[in-house]
């Protein structure tokens, strides 16, 4: 079981509800807090090497993003969120052709690792390379290069709407790639 606290549940469902109503600040908060929870979840379950917990974090965040319309706002958010994390964790093991080494028991201690993510080449980064050049330039401008939608539009000489559409398509394409490679 996950360390579910009533506070996490109330706070995260409030943030996601606000995000779905169009509050981008709330969405960023939600994603950062979710990343921290999923990181703990993945690190507790990946007992041996082969799967990088941070890959699971990223794939889970992406799945949460493209499937956020499946959350029913009258339902608790944590069971939904952890079910997605579990699905992506199993998926990550399967994709690497490994035996699933998920500890279903309750492990009290987390593995002693720094809380910050470890930096390495991520699967999502590799998936980004597989996009068409037009989509890739938009997605990497907004993510790796940290530009806003408006700055990206100026830099690439296209409209903001076109940036939004390409960003959405690019993220959806990356998410689909993970679904297909199993």
């Amino acid at each position: 079981m996950e360390p579910v606290t009533g506070k996490d549940e109330a706070e995260l469902s409030r943030l996601l509800r606000a995000a779905l109503a169009g509050d981008e600040k709330a969405y960023a908060d939600f994603l950062h807090r979710t990343a921290a929870l999923v990181r703990g979840f993945a690190r507790r379950r990946i007992v041996q090497g082969g799967v990088d917990p941070e890959d699971v974090v990223q794939e889970t965040l992406l799945a949460i993003h493209v499937k956020r319309h499946t959350w029913r706002q009258d339902q608790p958010v944590l069971p939904w969120l952890y079910a997605i994390a579990r699905f992506k964790l199993i998926d990550a093991f399967r994709r690497r052709g490994r035996r699933i080494e998920i500890d279903i028991g309750d492990i009290a201690e987390t593995i002693a690792e720094p809380e910050a993510e470890s930096v390495s080449e991520r699967d999502i980064g590799r998936a980004l390379d597989g996009l068409t050049p037009a989509l890739r330039s938009v997605v990497s401008s907004v993510s790796v290069e940290g530009r806003s939608i408006g700055e990206t539009a100026t830099k690439l000489g296209i409209s903001e709407t076109a940036v939004r559409v390409s960003l959405h398509r690019g993220l959806a394409a990356i998410a689909r790639r993970f679904g297909k490679t199993t």
């Binding site: 969405y27 965040l61 993003h65 499937k67 956020r68 339902q75 997605i84 579990r86 991520r122």
Partner: protein, 212 residues
């Protein structure tokens, strides 16, 4: 890509909207019934004596089995398409339709002499049944698999199979309005085979198209 960078991209895409999954299921059901009705009316259509047949026991009973299957499968698949949703009780509810059929079969065996059992089981329409239930159900199955793809089913193969049961329930409801073989012995045999085919096809579709 660092996780913080990914979050920047996801946040920038916060405005994109998809239809809520709960609404998507109603749209899918509406489309599926429309497709099934169209195929049904363009091919075999209802039997001419439907109004008088409704006053018999066996004809209307067919709809209780098929509608029970469709309703339980619809409720089950909606939960299956959402991560973390409780599904155990809904899975148990899937027994309602088979139990209704089993009870009807027992009553039929008690009501008619054993010499008649074989004739009623074989009926006159078994090939039409096994052709048209899958045929009418094919479009609905495709629609339900698309709705599953729109969702996030943690068990794609099971979900695809339930999509097949749901498509089978919808298709069998229409087909039952056409068929003159009203004996539960016929229904329990040939409808089951036809729906099993759609279920297997749905499971395959779940495996191939529904992963996310």
């Amino acid at each position: 890509m660092r996780t913080d960078d990914l979050i920047k991209a996801l946040d920038a895409d916060a405005r994109s909207r998809a239809m809520p999954q709960a609404a998507a299921w109603w749209v899918a059901l509406g489309a599926a019934v429309l497709i099934a009705a169209t195929v049904f009316m363009l091919t075999i259509g209802p039997r001419p004596d439907m109004a008088s047949a409704m006053h018999t026991m066996r004809f209307p009973a067919k709809f209780t089995y098929t509608v029970a299957l469709a309703v339980t499968a619809f409720v089950f698949i909606r939960a299956l398409s959402v991560p973390g949703a409780a599904t155990r009780r809904l899975a148990l509810a899937m027994w309602v339709a088979p139990i209704l059929v089993a009870v009807a079969v027992i009553l039929e065996l008690l009501a008619v002499p054993s010499a008649d059992w074989g004739r009623r089981l074989i009926g006159t329409n078994m090939y039409i049944c096994m052709t048209f239930i899958p045929l009418i159900g094919l479009g609905p199955l495709a629609v339900f698999l698309m709705a599953l793809r729109h969702g996030a089913p943690p068990r794609p193969v099971l979900s695809g199979a339930v999509a097949g049961l749901l498509a089978g329930g919808v298709a069998a409801t229409f087909y039952a309005a056409h068929c003159f073989d009203d004996s539960p012995l016929f229904v329990a045999t040939w409808y089951t085979i036809a729906i099993a085919f759609l279920t297997a096809l749905g499971a395959l579709g779940g495996r191939l198209f529904v992963r996310w």
